[in-house]
């Protein structure tokens, strides 16, 4: 039964990994603006030609 102790330790480690991922995402500003990307994704599809042509 004491194998459970090991499993608990593993599960905690994994959970801490997710917590760190969450903190990283907040820190890098991913949750700063949640609505604009929803609009932005609609734009990128169509005008591939004129976007790439003029930029560089």
């Amino acid at each position: 039964m004491s194998i459970i102790l090991l499993l608990i330790g593993c599960s905690l480690l994994i959970a801490i990994g997710f917590l760190i991922a969450f903190i990283w995402s907040v820190r890098s500003g991913q949750v700063e603006d949640t609505s604009t990307p929803a609009y932005r994704i609609l734009d990128e599809d169509k005008p591939v030609e004129d976007d790439s042509g003029e930029e560089e």
Binding site: M1, S2, I4, L5, I8, L12, A15, I16, F18, L19, F22, I23, V26, R27, V31, E32, D33, T34, S35, T36, Y39, R40, L42, D43, K46, P47, D50, E54, E55
Partner: protein
């Protein structure tokens, strides 16, 4: 891009063009400004803008004044706008009030196509902000601002307000609390479900110590704001709503700590961390609601940031921030610029449009030596003024500063705060009484009962219930085009007991119609006048042009436009004028002066009245509404007879200045009334602030952001009675759920006081009460919203 649209609608902004549409590349445009933006987009092959969202464009009826942003070339003045500035890269952030759809985002984020040197522009749609990175060696901040304005997205330049950042720490706290709560719950299951005695002995201590260590970050990191705020309240001798929470959290933690270390039991770690987690979720939702609704911008954002100050010899001039403007300095104000401070006219033809301040549609002319008030907008050529009073003491600022009063001494103590405070006092008293009673009998039981009382009666539901219910109500109202400034506004609305209306723009529509008073023109002359009016872009000229609807073949000669007065042209030997009565009749005052006149060689030939139409659904609005209502209008009493249908005779007041409105509202307040002011926009700003509740009626919720408590879409005005009823019912629902949880809590408290409540049982009771209260609120509010047909 080749999409066929309704031909009579402006291709850019979607407004109806009438018969006088400007044609360009098979598209019709309502005005020169809209056409220009289209041309600009077309040249840069950016016309996809029009595909993303219908009627994406913003109406460009106020052409950008030349040199309006010249002051941005002065590094001292523009410095405050930069987020950071290095030689090769700089970043600025603007608030763009006009941003409203996917097309706007698409266009603004492609600013680099219009302006080489712009590296990146990123839009935050919720805040209507854009962060622009550019190379200051290639392009100046002035060019960036001017290009944005030319596209129709004129930014509001606001300097030095650095808030936020706090939401990030809230998210960290929320994340940690969520992590710990989930794990603690897992480790608590075995205790709840039971284990066989042998494994109980091995595992119980492990789980308990794990829970204890996981709860430490919850209490000391996640719950820290509650402790901080409670402590702050205590320092000012005020039991705020965070105090009972902090007390509850502290009690739960200390008791659990003792239970585990003394081997009394398993503690309350799951309840404790779940409580903190849900509290933080509530707070986060509340913050997000506030952010979406934060439409209250400082009035200074409507003012210019800098003015052109002339030196004594009039040769040199420099731009200076308006805050640094000194008395007796001389300033130049150009076409379409706002007068920043009360000043005396020194030279130039002053045509001041005061609609910003008092809502009057007419343009006033001023003589040299006259005082011109801050907030007026110069129309026409530039004028030179001598500053009379500093900006902060001007009439408009004085009006605006009324707001401080309402927020400060007079503010209501919110209902939930009130309950929270008395409930806490009662709770602490009962808990202490229990403690002292049992101390004489059984020390262990005394402590046990004391904490049980605090836990079972934890007022967390009371704290969260009201904001939750009000936030819910806000969502329903938003569906109907009614936007509240904050959840607490619901409480304010519920207490309203009289209504004050403004007329123009509130009860009337924003557009007007023309009516003939007398007309001695023959058909040919009418046609010629109609053609003459087509030359001018003034709204009244265009209205007259549409009204006459004819086009003459006879050419106009010597066409001249007098800003703020009218237009003049020659037909053969005769000089014709079309313009304001004041100008045509050469200053003879009479009662119907808001009309437009036509004269030939100084002889009056025709006259038209301009009528502002009432909204369609006013009968529905006033039909069954029993609140006393008043009307305060800045206009003349031309529509008195119509208004008598809805208002008692002695409740109608005309020609009321903004200050008088404000005084009237203040008197009502002093009589103990709770007046709701329904007005439009900035010219009623003072009154909206002074009223118990300021409701601003507007056609475009996003474009106009005055200071008030509620913003309402014009067509929803007939919902006003339903809106007040709904808020009253919401408050009733909240009160009922409070009563419910009070009764529920007192029942269990009676057990707790007697020391008969098992810890496990107490931990289960708490969430049940919370869930019931939330359900009660949700269902109740949904029921009342359905009843008012807020669908």
């Amino acid at each position: 891009m080749k999409q066929v649209k309704e031909s009579n609608v402006c291709f850019h902004c979607g407004d109806p063009c009438g018969s006088d549409a400007l044609m360009y590349q098979e598209h019709s445009f309502c005005c020169e400004g809209c056409k220009t933006v289209y041309q600009l987009l077309d040249e840069n092959s950016m016309c996809r803008y029009y595909d993303l969202d219908e009627n994406a464009g913003l109406k460009m009826d106020h052409p950008l004044a030349e040199g309006k942003y010249a002051f941005l070339d002065n590094p001292e003045l523009s410095a405050s706008l930069f987020r950071f500035k290095k030689p090769e890269k700089a970043m600025v952030q603007f608030f763009i009030p006009g941003m409203h759809c996917a097309s706007c985002i698409w266009l603004i984020e492609r600013l680099y196509k219009f302006l080489p040197g712009v590296l990146e522009s990123r839009v935050n749609f919720d805040r209507k902000e854009v962060a622009i990175q550019f190379n200051p060696e290639e392009v100046s901040i002035r060019q960036v601002v001017e290009k944005l304005s030319a596209l129709g997205y004129e930014p509001a330049l606001i300097t030095g307000n650095e808030e936020k950042k706090e939401y990030k720490s809230l998210l960290y706290r929320l994340g940690v609390a969520g992590f710990c709560t989930g794990n603690i719950m897992l480790f608590s299951f075995p205790e709840y479900l039971g284990m066989d005695p042998s494994s109980q002995e091995t595992f119980s201590p492990v789980f308990q110590w794990l829970n204890l260590s996981l709860s430490i970050p919850v209490v000391f990191f996640s719950a820290q704001p509650f402790f901080a705020k409670a402590w702050k309240g205590l320092k000012y001798h005020d039991l705020n709503i965070d105090f009972p929470l902090a007390l509850g959290i502290a009690t739960l933690f200390i008791r659990s700590l003792l239970e585990v270390s003394m081997h009394w039991g398993q503690g309350f770690f799951d309840s404790l961390s779940a409580l903190v987690f849900f509290l933080l979720i509530g707070r986060w939702l509340q913050d997000r609601a506030y952010e979406a609704m934060s439409f209250d911008r400082n009035f200074r954002s409507y003012f210019p940031m800098a003015v052109e100050v002339l030196s004594n010899d009039e040769e040199a001039s420099q731009y200076r921030a308006i805050g640094e403007l000194k008395v007796s300095e001389r300033i130049r104000v150009r076409n379409q610029e706002l007068i920043p401070a009360d000043a005396i006219l020194e030279s130039g033809a002053a045509q001041i449009d005061y609609s910003f301040v008092n809502g009057e549609s007419e343009i006033e002319s001023a003589q040299i030596g006259d005082v011109i008030h801050a907030g007026g907008r110069q129309v026409g050529s530039s004028i030179i003024l001598q500053v009379m009073r500093p900006v902060s003491e001007s009439y408009l600022s004085a009006l605006w500063n009324q707001q401080d009063k309402k927020e400060g001494s007079e503010s209501i103590r919110s209902f939930s705060d009130w309950v929270g405070r008395y409930f806490t006092i009662a709770l602490v008293f009962i808990a202490l009484a229990t403690l002292f009673y049992w101390l004489r009998i059984d020390t262990y039981k005394a402590f046990h009962a004391f904490t049980a009382v605090l836990i079972v009666a934890c007022p967390c539901v009371l704290v969260v219930a009201a904001p939750f219910a009000f936030g819910n109500a806000m969502r329903w109202l938003a569906k109907k085009g009614i936007f509240l400034k904050s959840p607490d506004t619901v409480e304010r609305v519920a207490r309203v007991n009289e209504v004050v209306f403004d007329k123009t723009g509130t009860l009337t529509k924003q557009s007007a119609s023309l009516e003939e008073i007398f007309n001695e023109l023959n058909r040919e002359e009418q046609a010629w006048i109609g053609g003459l009016c087509a030359h001018s872009s003034h709204p009244v000229s265009r209205m007259l042009h549409r009204y006459l609807g004819l086009e003459s073949q006879v050419k106009t000669e010597n066409y001249k436009e007098f800003p703020g007065k009218g237009i003049e042209a020659k037909w053969g030997e005769n000089v014709w004028r079309v313009g304001s009565a004041h100008w045509i009749l050469d200053g003879i005052k009479d009662e119907k002066e808001s009309g437009v006149c036509v004269s030939v060689n100084g002889v009056l030939k025709a006259r038209y009245r301009i009528d502002w139409h009432f909204r369609d659904d006013l009968d529905g609005l006033f039909a069954n509404w029993d609140l006393p209502r008043y009307l305060y209008s800045g206009d003349r009493d031309t529509s008195r007879s119509e208004l008598l249908r809805w208002f008692p005779e002695d409740h109608l007041h005309f020609r009321v200045s903004p200050e008088e409105k404000l005084k009237a509202l203040r008197m009502d307040r002093e009589r103990g009334q709770y007046p709701m002011m329904v007005g439009d926009g900035l010219n009623d700003a003072g009154a909206l602030k002074e009223a118990w509740l300021g409701v601003s009626v507007t056609e475009d919720v996003h474009a106009f952001t005055p200071a008030c408590d509620v913003i309402m879409v014009g067509k929803s005005i007939s919902e006003l009675p339903g809106f007040v009823r709904f808020c009253k019912n919401t408050l009733k629902t909240v009160k009922f759920s409070f009563l419910f949880s009070l009764v529920y809590n007192s029942i269990w408290m009676s057990f707790a006081v007697r020391g008969e409540l098992q810890p496990l049982f107490a931990a289960l009771l708490m969430p049940i009460s919370s869930v019931t209260v939330f359900a009660l609120n949700t269902i109740g509010i949904r029921y009342f919203a359905r009843k008012e047909r807020f669908q």
